[in-house]
């Protein structure tokens, strides 16, 4: 079995080979008793391989209609999305950003977000105003260099915000969407419904016994961790 991680803030840092996903993966593998090869690759590549069946698992995925065709999910947390914009872009709300044709939004290739955020991103995409990236790090760099004026972030990206340079430079705008559930991504091609069910039960077990919450509390303040892991799975 194979599982791939992607570099994304607190979820996973390749530089230190650690993060929420790493911890979650270790625990899941341990509980399953299976031998799972864990690798690291760009998120876009992960989705491609999940779709093709070459990869069995990944973590912290969200769904949409298209992904539902080839992936199944075992939810274990949810979170909201936020628009991080440069203060000097003169943006107070989403429409401001959309209106100003000079503003570029940085996104990670293949990422999807909450409903409003998706619409926002798609609009800018059609206007050729997106800068794609293979990971989060270059987007922060591009934002600092004013090559992009905004990017979409999640709670995992907060540590970066605590860096003075970024904190001074940016403002956060909230998408008024409910939290979006995240979960284990399972390739429908690679795993049968029965297997999916078993893995889902494993994840449920990790949620139920507080393992998930403990992992999140390692990285977030308890309230935020609770807000993320306490959700009604769809």
């Amino acid at each position: 079995l194979t599982l791939a991680l992607h570099d994304h803030g607190l979820l996973y840092s390749a530089a230190t080979d650690s993060g929420i996903d790493k911890d979650f993966a270790d625990e899941l593998i341990r509980r399953s008793g299976c031998k799972v090869a864990v690798s690291f690759m760009p998120r876009a590549r992960i989705w491609q391989l999940i779709e093709s069946g070459a990869l069995d698992f990944s973590l912290s995925g969200i769904t949409n209609a298209e992904r539902d065709r080839f992936a199944a999910f075992a939810w274990y947390f949810s979170n909201k999305y936020y628009l991080l914009v440069r203060k000097d872009a003169g943006v107070r709300g989403l429409p401001d950003f959309e209106r100003n044709r000079d503003l570029q939004l940085g996104v990670i290739r293949s990422f999807r977000y909450s409903e409003t955020a998706n619409r926002f991103v798609d609009t800018l995409h059609d206007a050729n105003r997106l800068s794609q990236a293979g990971g989060l790090t270059p987007l922060y760099q591009a934002l600092i260099l004013n090559r992009i004026q905004g990017m979409i972030i999640e709670p995992f990206d907060y540590p970066a915000l605590e860096e003075k340079q970024i904190r001074d430079l940016t403002a956060i705008i909230e998408f008024n969407d409910p939290p979006v559930p995240h979960g284990v991504i399972m390739s429908r091609k690679a795993l049968s419904m029965t297997e999916q069910k078993k893995w889902r039960e494993l994840v449920e077990g990790m949620r139920a016994d507080g393992t998930v919450r403990r992992i999140f509390e390692k990285y977030f303040k308890p309230e935020l961790a609770a807000a993320m892991v306490d959700f009604q799975a769809p």
Binding site: R109, S131, T137, P138, L145
Partner: protein
């Protein structure tokens, strides 16, 4: 109403609006299609780069695997392993694969010493200097070309490399450096390169957390690349219609440039994007721009077609609406215009009719009633206009009414439109008129529109001309008659002159005859005279001898003998003279008397030839006569002799000019009735132009040299006249001439006008 008037404009606006929408939609669709094509190509390019890097990483993992089972110092194992990788063209971009050993400062001397023991005698760690930790390259494979440079480069000393080496150490995974110049590449213009590092940990030590990995790091393996080689091996084919550049980091600056493709762009790129790749923990910015051929290759141009078609259809629709809406108005306007034109036309005709200086009438073709007449007509005919309109044309035209009706029908059916009539005026006076009449339609009826011109004066003038011509004709006839009479008398005089001349000619030839005869007679008479004188002298001598008494018998006998001889000569000479005279007398009598008698042709010719022969005595030619002695004729010997003489004289005068010899032959043949006599010469002959005229009176080629020009003309008259025969001439220029004389042996009896108008001329057939 005003809304209706605006309808075409509204329709046009609506059509253009719809076209605009369709055009815009199509443009957006095209733009979207292009955008997604661009996205696709961009994603594909990114994918290729990432995949390639993953492959390199995998390759290094293989090396990592090797080092998990051998010592880093087993140089041969490493060399063999790299050799076994067989860098095919896909890996051609790998410049070198090598091993870096982590050497803490304390262990540096023993490291240097051990390297030197391996054969690298001058091994040192470069750059020199005292540092806490060194990370020298201890082996670089394949050991060929530039890779054969001395080992010992301390990669840890270069911050760019060190950053990647630290990342590799901490993550345990492959890490890629930023833009570097490879150690094996020297020089300022060395291509941009990068190095991929993979950590090696001390065997058997824990490395599952950051601390463990840091504590047990033994060194690194690396692969070095030139960016241009990587791109070259990446793309068999460039992404269609796109050009991309690759920069290290997120800023596309020259300093960070790793690779730049040649661009073929004449206008700003329609599509451009920067994408940040995270490869081996390092960020590259891929800057992609569409090229000129991108839109050509993937775009559609239906937007333009839609726009053109829509605009055209809109305009047509608007025009059509306008045409439909305005059809009634335009029809009314057209009708008004036509009515106006007709009115004007009518007015023009009325004006033309009323004020015309020609007589004009409108006549009912059936009844012949004058429907209208203009003022000029009223004046001309001498009726008030009111009366004239209503009269029948028969009251004016002098022809019988049925004839007038016939003519009207011809005009009505346009068989004729020009007539000459006599019209009677109110005064009773008759005038000749010329009428042009043609049908016109007026008020639904067909009338004859007639224009009459008075031609009386012209007719009279014509009559006068005819009379003048007739009297001139008579004058001319009189004058012609006078002239004819004058001409006749002149001709008569001319004829008389010709006869006189012929007579004179005859006398002239007679004179010649006399001269010839005199000459002939001179010889016999002279002989006779001489002999007579000699006889006289002999008689005197005898007489004297007798007187002297010395006469002897012998002398007397001799004298008698001599006298007898002399007397014979005298007798013969006198007989000859008498014969000549008889002959001359015959000729002279014949020629002057023109009497008919029986004669022998041979004798006649002989006589005539003898008579003129003396004239040619000194001539270089000879005359031969060959005529049988028994050709008897009953004809006119005089005229015949004159003809023979003329022909011989003619030949003598013309045939032998400039010749030194020649023969003139006269011969004849005959049957019971006809004689054919030929006079021919072998002289110079005559040209056809001369031959054609020789029988004409006064024609001569020897004018002023004695020729009268009448000889042959007279001969022809004689032959065809009294002799009742024919005379033909033929000639072969250069070879001679021939005159053929045919006449009956018994001449026709002379009835009346023997010589006048009975000439017959025959042209030559020879030659």
């Amino acid at each position: 109403m005003s809304l209706v008037r605006l309808l075409p404009a509204l329709i046009l606006v609506a059509a253009l609006g719809i076209t605009g929408l369709a055009w815009n939609h199509e443009r957006q669709v095209t733009q979207k299609a292009l955008q997604s094509q661009f996205d696709f190509l961009l994603r594909e390019t990114i994918g290729r780069v990432e995949q390639r890097m993953a492959t390199y990483e995998q390759m290094l993992r293989g090396v990592q695997g090797l080092l998990a089972i051998t010592e880093p110092t087993d140089r041969d194992a490493f060399s063999n392993y790299v050799g076994a990788l067989q860098f095919d063209p896909n890996f051609a971009s790998i410049q070198a694969v090598g091993i870096i050993k982590r050497v803490p400062a304390a262990l540096a001397p023993s490291h240097v010493a051990s390297m030197r023991r391996l054969g690298f005698n001058d091994y040192v760690i470069q750059p020199a200097g005292v540092r806490e930790v060194y990370a020298p390259v201890i082996q670089r494979e394949p050991y060929v070309g530039r890779n054969r440079m001395r080992p010992g480069f301390d990669a840890w000393s270069d911050p760019v490399r060190r950053s990647a080496m630290e990342r590799a150490r901490d993550s345990g995974m492959a890490a890629i450096s930023g833009k570097v110049q490879l150690v094996v590449d020297s020089g300022a213009d060395a291509p941009a390169g990068f190095v991929m590092y993979m950590p090696i940990y001390t065997r058997g030590q824990a490395q599952d957390n950051l601390a463990g990995r840091r504590a047990h790091l033994a060194g690194w393996i690396f692969a070095s690349f030139r960016m241009s080689d990587v791109i070259a091996s990446l793309y068999g084919e460039k992404p269609p219609g796109l050009a991309f550049s690759l920069f290290d980091g997120v800023e596309p600056t020259e300093a960070a440039l790793l690779y730049r493709a040649a661009e073929t762009r004449s206008r700003p790129a329609a599509f451009a994007a920067n994408e940040y790749l995270v490869v081996g923990g390092n960020t590259w910015t891929l800057s992609v721009r569409s090229q000129d051929d991108f839109e050509t290759r993937f775009g559609r141009n239906s937007a333009l077609i839609i726009a053109a078609t829509g605009v055209s259809l809109g305009l047509l629709l608007a025009l059509l609406t306008w045409l439909i809406l305005t059809a009634r108005t335009r029809a009314l306007q057209l009708a008004a215009n036509m009515t106006q034109e007709i009115r004007e036309s009518e007015a023009r005709f009325r004006d033309f009719f009323e004020k015309n200086s020609s007589v004009m009438l409108l006549i009912d073709p059936t009844s012949g009633e004058i429907k209208e007449a203009n003022e000029t007509a009223a004046t001309y005919y001498g009726y008030p206009r009111t009366q004239l309109a209503g009269m029948l044309i028969d009251e004016i035209n002098t022809l019988p009414p049925e004839r007038v009706a016939e003519e009207r029908q011809k005009a009505l059916h346009e068989e004729r439109n020009y007539f000459l009539f006599q019209h009677r005026l109110a005064s009773g006076e008759l005038r000749d008129v010329e009428v042009h009449s043609s049908p016109v339609v007026s008020g639904g009826r067909t009338l004859l529109f007639s224009i009459a011109h008075d031609v009386t004066a012209r007719k009279q003038a014509e009559q006068r001309v005819v009379e003048t011509l007739r009297s001139s004709e008579k004058d001319l006839e009189g004058r012609v008659n006078e002239r004819t009479a004058e001409l006749s008398s002149t001709i008569e005089r001319l004829k008389q002159t010709q006869v006189d001349l012929a007579q004179a000619d005859k006398l002239a030839s007679l004179g010649a005859l006399v001269a010839g005869v005199a000459h002939e007679l001179n010889t016999p008479i002279g002989n006779a005279l001489t002999m007579a004188s000699a006889l006289e002298e002999a008689a005197i001598e005898l007489d004297a001898m007798v007187a002297a008494g010395g006469l002897r018998r012998s002398v007397l006998a001799a004298h008698a003998q001599k006298s007898k001889g002399m007397a014979a000569i005298v007798t013969r000479s006198c007989l000859r003279a008498a014969s000549l005279i008889a002959s001359f007398k015959r000729v002279a009598v014949d020629q002057t008397s023109e009497q008919r008698r029986k004669f022998d042709l041979h004798a006649l010719v002989d006589d005539n030839v003898a008579a003129i022969k003396p004239s040619f005595k000194k001539a270089p030619w000879i005359i031969e006569v060959d005529i049988r002695a028994d050709i008897g004729c009953d004809s006119y010997p005089g005229p015949l002799g004159q003809v023979i003489t003329n022909l011989i004289q003619n030949a003598a005068a013309h045939a032998f000019d400039g010749r030194t010899s020649g023969t003139l032959r006269v011969y004849a043949t005959c049957d019971a009735e006809m004689v054919e006599m030929i006079v021919e010469d072998d002289g110079k002959g005559m040209e056809p132009a001369v031959l054609a005229h020789i029988f004409e009176p006064f024609y001569t080629t020897k004018l002023g040299q004695g020729g009268s020009g009448l000889g042959l003309s007279v001969s022809l008259n004689i032959v065809t006249g009294v002799l009742g025969g024919t005379l033909q001439a033929s000639s072969d220029p250069g070879y001679g001439s021939r005159f053929t004389l045919r006449f009956p042996r018994i001449a026709p009896s002379q009835v009346a006008q023997p010589r006048k108008d009975r000439r017959r001329r025959e042209q030559p057939s020879e030659g």
